[in-house]
Amino acid sequence: MKPASFDYLRPATVADALAALAAGGDDARVIAGGQSLMPMLNMRLVQPRLLIDLSRLEELRSLRTEAGWLTVGAAVTQAEVLARPALAREVPLLAAALPWVGHFQTRNRGTLCGSVAHADPSAETPLCLVASGGEVVLRNAKRRRTVAAADFFLGPLTTVKAADEIVECVRFPLAKPGSGHAFREMSMRHGDFAITACAATVDGHSASLAVGGVADRPTLRSWPLVSGGLPPDLDEALNAFAWDLGGDDDQHATARYRRDLVRRIGRTVLEEALSCRR
């Protein structure tokens, strides 16, 4: 299918992009990798009057560690992050999850920030950002603000980002010594959106599990470790978490199946995270 008509701007600077976005109002959209937005344009689920292309802005190509964070700019592709040699040491959860994001061919163009801005409840990147306590840096023509990932997502395809803001970068905290991380998901085909995705983090004091694909946004829960191990009543705790997440039947799976995946994959990733602590 083909997109409806729109004007197209490839600005020379971020300031120009933000000025055009502010002037365009709700009818303007930004595009970077386009791997979420282009399908929606092709199916005419969105019909902006102005498309602002961020993909060639050098200012948004920053991929660096600084003061305990890995910062990923809006024009950095998923493939570029995955190819970072130190990624498995810096943000091991992201290194584990990124191969599950789409396919080789879409990761070559898709961006981390675009996936976060798109806010699909079953997408891996928002889940990792919430699981690791990351941040989203938003910018409009006048100011810049930083939002904790846990506060950024409001629901399916819905975030606190205003129409005149872009996701300038996302920031993942660097993994702390002694922490362990694991990621697994169930999908119809590797690379498809997850039916249920689980990301676990274990440090010296607590075990955390973030779940995507069940509730309307990635959701995190933590439990204190008991004698250095997972809580003895973990099965009950996971069961309660699964019920609290809600979830509905849809064409891919029943809510009951999703709860079962939370119990089973949740336990698996927590055990993996505990056993791979460094």
Partner: protein
């Protein structure tokens, strides 16, 4: 507040106007015109007459339209023609052209192992593999299958594709191994 720009932004490309788009297609500079909404896949086929690139689902799932932009395998149906302006685009037509007019070793292996059935998905798969094997010269079967998961072959002709790639990368399949 006037924007503080060091260089002037290009003008907005109006929706109803066809704009000049220049690319280097398989090593040859080519140009045509495109409305902003025109997909790169349609630009290649209808504006430049390069019909080797196939159009399947048009929402990024099937992989039939995969081309290389600046060497990197991407979906042509999820890229606008105007976004490709100034870029190097390689399509299936360019494989043999860059090999002295003869099929590449990968294409020959596809032929030997009949790594296709109807052939509709083949162009995209060849373009993905051209990028992928450049980065991963000896993929394991598992890695190869993971990469191929970005392509749908509705004839389910994957077994021959895996055999062809394992051969062309100098690897032998396990005897009686599952393909």
């Amino acid at each position: 507040m006037p924007p503080l720009t060091s260089q002037a932004s290009p003008p907005v490309l109006a929706a109803e106007t066809r704009h000049a788009v220049s690319i280097v297609l398989n090593g040859t500079p080519r140009s045509g015109h495109a409305h902003p909404r025109l997909l790169l896949s349609d630009f290649l086929r209808h504006e430049l007459g390069a019909h080797g690139t196939r159009v399947g689902c048009e929402h990024g799932v099937c992989g039939a339209c995969t081309v290389r932009i600046d060497g990197v395998a991407v979906r042509a149906c999820l890229t606008l023609a105007v976004q490709a302006d100034g870029r190097r685009i390689d399509t299936v037509e360019g494989l043999a052209a860059a090999n002295g007019g003869r099929m590449t070793a990968l294409q020959e292996a596809f032929r030997r192992h009949h790594a296709l059935q109807c052939g509709f998905c083949t162009a995209g798969i060849l373009m993905s593999l051209t990028d992928y094997l450049g980065r991963t010269p000896k993929p394991t079967e598992e890695e190869l299958r993971d990469m191929l998961s970005g392509h749908l072959c509705r004839c389910t002709g994957y077994a021959g594709i895996v055999r062809a790639v394992m051969e062309v990368t100098g690897q032998t399949m396990k005897e009686g191994g599952h393909v």
